[in-house]
């Protein structure tokens, strides 16, 4: 049973993120839906990847449903999801 965690909501300005530990070597895979996919889809993926990299999380499946969250919200929710998944230590 692989580790899972989720954070955020489907409210406007928020992003709902579910993370599932990936098979070693599988890399970071992101399934993204967003109300601002065309203008900001790439930026959202970059931010999610950045957070994974900064915590040395290499193999992860991310499902993200974005409702126009600002970058700081995306990063915060991602961090919370990773911690709830057990992939980051508690402070």
């Amino acid at each position: 049973m692989s580790k899972q965690g989720q954070a955020g909501t489907l409210e406007s300005n928020d992003i709902h993120i579910i993370v599932k530990e990936g098979v070693p070597g599988s890399g970071i895979s992101i399934d993204l839906t967003s109300t601002v996919l065309l203008p900001y889809g790439d930026a959202i993926r970059t931010s999610i990847t950045d957070v994974c990299n900064s915590f040395q999380v290499k193999d992860i499946e991310v499902t993200a449903m974005d409702k126009g969250a600002l970058d700081c919200t995306i990063r915060a929710r991602m961090q919370t999801a990773l911690r709830r998944c057990g992939l980051i230590q508690e402070v």
Partner: protein, 287 residues
């Protein structure tokens, strides 16, 4: 100025990111009672990120952390390095609690970071009893407050708009704040659809010596500021006092009178504060 402190639920991105837009003197990013227990970690992460990226303009940035027995220490470790101005300590009942939390705050500050100060909120009878010792417990204490909702719940009282049930502790906290040389901030008026009630409540707080009031909705800010604006009468009186003091200095006389009344230093100080606020609010030309 700390006329208005706008509470923002810390797990709500919409509120957190727009909190600086409403013209409040301060924003309070709340990790405590406005956040469900299961989401405290998410709120902590969000507030930490917001403090680093969101522009709150001229607002003083407060964060209400959880009490120590509800992971408050973790809140301090994560939040303090992000540069809040004030940490709001809830449910304080003893000076030792303040001292301990200030110690944790200092340990969490980055080298060279502007010192983070604290505001202690007393929400129980014993907290009110010990309020003076709490207020002077540490130089980092900048303000105190009465949390009337929890206070009346603890005492088993009915909370009312008129507030007779909290009159004594409310006035006590104001007196203690003055004696301790710290600010006091009044408890919220919880009916957001009653601006007249809010105005009356805020005027009462002002008359007791409170510097400001908690706002639980942006709609309350204008009314609170209206209550704290010096009236034309107050401004004119303050101007007369200041003029009389100037004249006294020119004449070399130490004794000042206005309208036949003696003016002693606390009155002069109050007049001066009134003029300062009037200038800050564009009610008069700057000196």
């Amino acid at each position: 100025m700390r006329r208005s402190l706008l509470f923002l639920p810390g797990n709500n991105p919409g509120n957190v990111q727009s909190g600086g837009l409403f013209g409040a003197d301060a924003v309070v990013l709340d990790l405590e009672d406005a956040v469900a227990p299961a989401e405290k970690d998410a709120a902590r992460d969000l507030v930490a990120a917001a403090l680093q990226t969101v522009d709150y303009g001229m607002c003083e940035k407060f964060v209400r952390i959880n009490s120590l027995d509800h992971n408050g220490a973790r809140d301090i470790r994560v939040i303090v390095p992000c540069g809040p101005d004030v940490i709001l300590l809830p449910k304080i009942e003893s000076p030792a609690e303040v001292v301990e939390q200030v110690k944790l705050i200092k340990a969490a500050e980055r080298p060279g970071q502007k010192p983070v100060v604290v505001m202690a909120v007393m929400e129980t009878p014993i907290g009110v009893v010990r309020a003076y010792d709490i207020a002077i417990s540490d130089p980092r204490v900048t303000a105190i407050s009465l949390g009337a909702e929890d206070y009346t719940a603890t005492m088993g009282l009915t909370r009312t708009k008129e507030g007779q049930e909290i009159f004594v502790p409310r006035a006590t906290i104001a007196n203690i704040a003055s004696a301790a040389g710290v600010d006091c901030i009044d408890t919220p008026f919880t009916d957001v659809n009653d601006p007249e009630g809010l105005l009356a409540d805020t005027l009462l707080a002002k008359s007791l010596g409170y510097q400001g009031k908690v706002a639980i909705n942006p709609r309350q800010i204008d009314t609170i500021h209206q209550a704290y604006a010096p009236t034309e009468t107050e401004i004119r009186w303050a101007q007369r006092v200041v003029e009389a003091v100037e004249e006294g200095k020119r004449k070399g006389s130490g004794v000042v009178a206005v309208g036949g009344k003696m003016i002693d230093p606390p009155v002069v100080a109050r007049a001066s504060r009134t003029i300062d606020m009037a200038i800050a609010l564009h009610l008069v030309e700057g000196a």
